[in-house]
Amino acid sequence: MSTPSIALNRFGYGIRVGETPPSEPQADLLRQLSEFDTRPGPLSARPNTSGEAGELLQIIRQSRSATREKAAMDESAGTMESSMDAQPDPNPARTRRNAQLAALPPEYRAKLIEAYGRYRVDVAERMRVAVTSPTPFAERLVHFWSNHFSVSAGKPGTPFEVGNHEFNAIRPHVTGKFSDMLKAAVLHPAMLLYLDQFQSVGPSSPYGERQRRRAERAGNGGRPVGLNENLAREILELHTLGVDGGYSQADVTEFARALTGWSVQGLGRVRRFAEEKPGGASYVALAHEPGTRRIMGRAYEDTGAGQAIAILDDLATHPTTARFVCTKMARHFTRDDPAKSLIARLESDFLQTGGDLGSLARTLVNAPEAWEGDAVKFRQPVEWLTSVLRFTGVDDLSDNRINGILRQLGQVPWGAPSPAGFDDAADSWAGPDALLRRVELADRIARNAPSDAVLERAETAFPGALSDNTRTWLSRAESGSQALGLLLVAPEMMRR
């Protein structure tokens, strides 16, 4: 690929209708980093949702038959999702789920509808920001880091918070410090809810002791409280050191103890005792496990909320973390099997700067390895759709349409199947069925978009990188819209 085409497609989200390719590709990418708007209009207008998720959980807890309604809620989550599809769902299961939703108490039902409405709007706004962005390289960084700290709308309360997580815990830090992003991302309500931290209680904390005494008095009837190690494990495995990062099961448990007390705002049960933390988190000292914690050979004094923060600060600058996140970054921007020299270059920058992500991005731009080779990286569905919409100039899709299309393509933001986020390798995305869906969608989009001068625009979108084969089949198309449809699924559009 030519350097202008690499700058546009490998680093960015492709050319936007009306743009010209950059004459100085590297300088243009650096410009994008310095001009990046962390809170563009639509995002700064987003209402504050702090406490909403906690209130929803509170409503769930107050409902009398908690178990049955939890099941109904999980079901209705599915209902809300299918209602985002573009066309009515003939599936009878949907009618059943709608009936279950209607059977919920009105306050509960209204809150659920509000939660999924918020999620749907956030997904659409995220897409629009990327499609219209003058700094698409920075948007790519946002989406890369957001996936590194993946949260999902599939848990009670999280639909309120997953968009907020990316907009307020990730975006402001993409050219800042990794340690700041780490703390903001894992101590955010979306993550605290998603990975069960909000209900983890120190067994020897005042709250844990009291609940235990109560449970003993009540026989089997008391609500059990105690540790939940889910968040602690995933921070070590997925966010910092990586799976073979040298920590043990004992380290996981110790870290889980240190994290106790961190919860979310809006939970009435603990509201009286909670100290509000930035971003919608809260800290409940009464639920914090007392004592010094020992993790990977280092001792952390009991400073309450600060204990987990001190551990996160150390993890953020650990050499193993540097290796892990730099490998992921190199894989994302260049190829599934990135050059070792590129990883080493990024790693050394990360260590030298103590995890300065702006410096890391500039190092990536200046790395020769990033400018080598053919287009081999298969675009993920969100990347492909963003590039398609930027190229075609289609910018009037409704919230529902955007959500429906993303679902059909198999990648709805904040909907990854696991806390590891969406996989970042062609094996996961380049499937027969997934490809056919893109073809069908391209055909549909092309029939509703301006389709003049497709070949010339293709030359601009992939300057010096359009293949003769693609050129031939575009020129043989029977109409402009057919040529456009073909370009949208051409190899140039699928790989970068």
Binding site: S82, P90, Q199, G226, V439, L486
Partner: protein, 392 residues
Amino acid sequence: MTKTVLNPHLQRRALLAGSLALGASSLAAPRMAFAQAPGAKNMLFVLLRGAMDGMAMLAPTGESRFEELRAAALPDYEGARRIDSTFVLHPAFEQVGKSYAAGDALFVHAAATSYRARSHFDGQDLLESGASTPNTMRDGWINRLVALMSDQTTPRALAIAPTMPLALRGNAPVSNYAPSSLPDASDDFLDRVGKLYGGDAQLGELYTSALETRAMAADDGLRNLRDAAKAGELAASLMRGEDGARIAMIELGGWDTHANQRATFARPARNLDALLGAYAASMGSAWDDTLVLVATEFGRTARYNGTAGTDHGTGSVALVMGGAVRGKRVVADWPGLGDSQLYQKRDLMPTTALESVLAGAAAEHFGLDPAISMASLFPGRSAAPLSGLVRT
């Protein structure tokens, strides 16, 4: 067994797929030859992602220690199907229970792969790739099974999923399919895309494979895989008949029950039960020649955690179903639940190698050499493949 009647639209798609297959040289010959001899064997692999709690599925309530570990769970098992003096089946598994009673299902308890850490992603990688160390093999054990069976014709293998799972990836030809609500593109456009991809090895192969599979399933009437029973029917419809897949895989998530397990387990459990029940019913007479293997990456902690859930553990349950199975039994070298009997004093101790279950059953079912199968599907294991799971 009735042959699927193709509507005119379908036939057009099928023809189109055929012409493309001829055009793409890399996958010319064997792809279109999937004739099924009468009584040909079928296998469905169901992967439960997220670590299914085997102690919830098949609860050892006969052990006095169970109550101490999981007192809160006991009400679930009152009146549930009793399997023997030790085990009770979770009430969500109504259809599975009926199959069990009919002799078409067995459980292997305290089973685990050779993976002994607690990362979902590494655990799944090992279970799907078949490697003895995570992230060391790029192809999957089912793909290698297809290769082992490809003496004369390649059996058609299919993932019923929007993306290709690792277990099926590899050199042997496989495809994937998931229902969609996107409108079909015109045949002319599809044809031109095929030509555009003619010179592209990766996209050309994927595209040809997609058109073939969609031609088979174009009348499924589904828009997604959310309804588990419908997904089970779809799996059966893609496996019945001469051109059906002989081997298929489907995935089911939602098993990571860290909190409030009684509720969070019941939902995926009902889905699994509905899927298996619908699949068995829809296979019709082909059920007699069918093997279903249901497995998960690892089990969960024996004791409930502080949030009435369970954390990542080790030993779990594998479910083996189908008319081909010598069922109505629990295969287990039961380790017990005492502190010293638990793995690292927290997890159900694994006493049976899950790889031996999968390789042993698949080899027996398809008439392959068990030792060769084990070495190919799950290299580097010391355990021998299990025998006697399937009627031969």
